[in-house]
Amino acid sequence: MLKLIVFSPLVGAALIGLGGRRWSERIIGTVGCATVGLSTVLAFYVFFARLLPLDPEHRLIFEPFYNWIASGRLHADFGFQLDPLSGVYILFVTFVGFWIHVFGVGYMHGDSGYYRFFAYMNLFMFMMLLLVLADNFLLMFVGWEGVGLCSYLLIGHYFTRQYAADAAKKAFIVNRIGDFGFALGIIFIFATFHTIRFAEVMARAAHMPTEALWTMGTLTAICLLLFVGATGKSAQIPLYVWLPDAMAGPTPVSALIHAATMVTAGVYMVARTSQMYTRSLTALFIVALVGGLTAFFAATIALGQDNIKKVLAYSTISQLGYMFMACGAGAFIAGIFHVVTHAFFKALLFLGAGSVIIALHHNEDMRQMGGLKKYMPITYKTFIIAWLAIAGVFPLAGFFSKDEILWRTANSAVLPPGWGRALWLLGVITAILTAIYMTRLVVMTFHGEERFRHGEAGSAAGHHGGPLSPQESPRTMTIPLIVLAVLSVVGGWLGIPEGFSAGTLPNWIEHFLHPAIATVSEGQTTMEPASQGSEIGLALGTLLLVVAALVWAYRFYQRQPLWQPPSVLVHKYWVDEAYDRLFVRPIRAISTVLLWQVFDVRIIDGAVNGTAALVRAGGRALRHIQTGAVRSYVVMIFLGALIVITYFMLAGR
């Protein structure tokens, strides 16, 4: 059953990839969505009919598949594992993925690479599901690399554009750097535990002692290496730079891969290995610190971007930072909760942006938008819901998950003293910034003056000539928006903290995930957990701040939508330029001068050509033996015989 979930999109990818060039858009779209739809239905079935009925402490289904590697002690199989964590993931990955595919049917209409798009999207779904359902590190790594590959293929969809091709390469290469750390981590895991199956590794890790802060133990090393992989895949400092450029790909790609699914793979991995992380205080601290800093840092950059997708990209980086901050604080369940709610409203935001972009003929510059709410009511209304959800307004989804994260970080039992509060403060400030930049986006895009009427020259679109008259998108695009909007409203109700409802409403997601993920209650408490009363207080306080920020930002940007942000933010702190100077140019210089000219040309080519020259010279010299004269041959025979006889005479002694 799990096999079907994983392989259904692969079949779709193969069919569309091989035959799609001759098929009509309708067939391609239908096949592409049907395979994912099948996975979705099966995922729900398996979750509710097979996983849920099991006893909460033993919700674990293994489905071994194919004996892949059996070499010495290394056994890596194609095998699947369904437990609460992967169960949650397959639900939202398939469901959101399905609706994004449907959206793509409308968005990519008329594109010459229509079949390529769906083939790669299906391939991506296959890889992502493989990643999530794998039962061992190596198979997960296959999926991990696979989603990176699909990201490359999809970002480079418009490969005739230099920028898109470059962005695709950048994404893949930066990801690869992280993957290097990940691979080292896996090797280390095998060396330590002699197995790479999750169940076995986690069981053995549970017996290991907790490694104190700033001591480099085995678990700390492993967790830090794995986290390097997570910074690459999930776009945290320092390997986040690929995500904003990845916006060169079609918007459904940005929604699916770079918002809802692929980038959450890092969080999945950290949660999967939570047994190890909870035993390494150093790793937890680093994760939380990087997460918190990234959240804040990216939020500041988002304030300075004029491209609607770039704002959302930095927003994604920022929200991912929250998720890692939660995990680092020991609140893995809160992090996963935010993964799920974020998938809903971020996908909605991206798809809404896609709707706008199509209406304005592929113009992504917010300075040339404005006043669209009149023309695109459905897009507008769903976007408003997403805006409020991401800002964290009660009772929408973002409120519950973000608040859970902030609350748990402030009361973290595993962070060094004072840091929990410090990161909490950073999180609150980031939430305020989130409210501000999202309001800016909404106001610049949908409200105020219709700046898109000011002449079309200079925009990336304008190939139709004549004035733009934006209209609402077709149903294939608006229906997914509505679905995601509904989820953005109710999705948060999965995890209402019990403090809020005074125990009447259970915190479903907490109870569900609890047995599958390590929590910090196992004897590592460094602080007393605070009482429930202050949880509501904290939530209300944050809510008030956020609403105040929303109102202020709304007024401000309505008056001055084109207010120029500080240059340092617009230029994203010049990080890309710094990386270019520090890494890209030296490597390129080394490659061209040293490796290519010296090594490749002189040494290797020299060796090969030299051997040939040597042989030729030898031949030229030896040629003279063949004189054609019989008498010289006689002499040679004679001399040869002489040498042999002399040898045997002397050797006898």
């Binding site: 063949q626 054609g628 004269a629 019989v630 004679f638």
Partner: protein
């Protein structure tokens, strides 16, 4: 009895004369004669040993060598005849068709 070494010395001298002649002579017939000389010097050596050590096998081997020498002389002379018919010369240096 004459010491064995005299016979062996004679054999060595004959062999050397034959060897040098093969190299130095220009006409094929002289080369063939020189080769026969070398073979016969070996025969002499074999007979000497056979006589002085009272071993019969030396003389048996001489018979072998003689037979081979005769056959080889026959073939060699046939080649000389053919060569002469084609080239009108017995000068071995003129038979350098294999030279590149």
């Amino acid at each position: 009895m004459v010491p064995m070494s005299w016979y062996l010395a004679l054999g060595a001298v004959l062999f050397t004369i034959g060897a040098v002649s093969v190299i130095v002579k220009r006409d094929i017939l002289s080369m063939l004669l020189a080769i026969e000389l070398m073979l016969n010097s070996v025969n002499l050596t074999l007979v000497t040993f056979s006589s002085y050590f009272r071993e019969l096998s030396g003389q048996i081997l001489v018979f072998f060598v003689m037979v081979v020498a005769a056959a080889e002389a026959g073939v060699g002379l046939a080649i000389v005849v053919l060569l002469f018919r084609n080239r009108q010369t017995v000068d071995v240096d003129q038979a350098s068709m294999l030279k590149l």
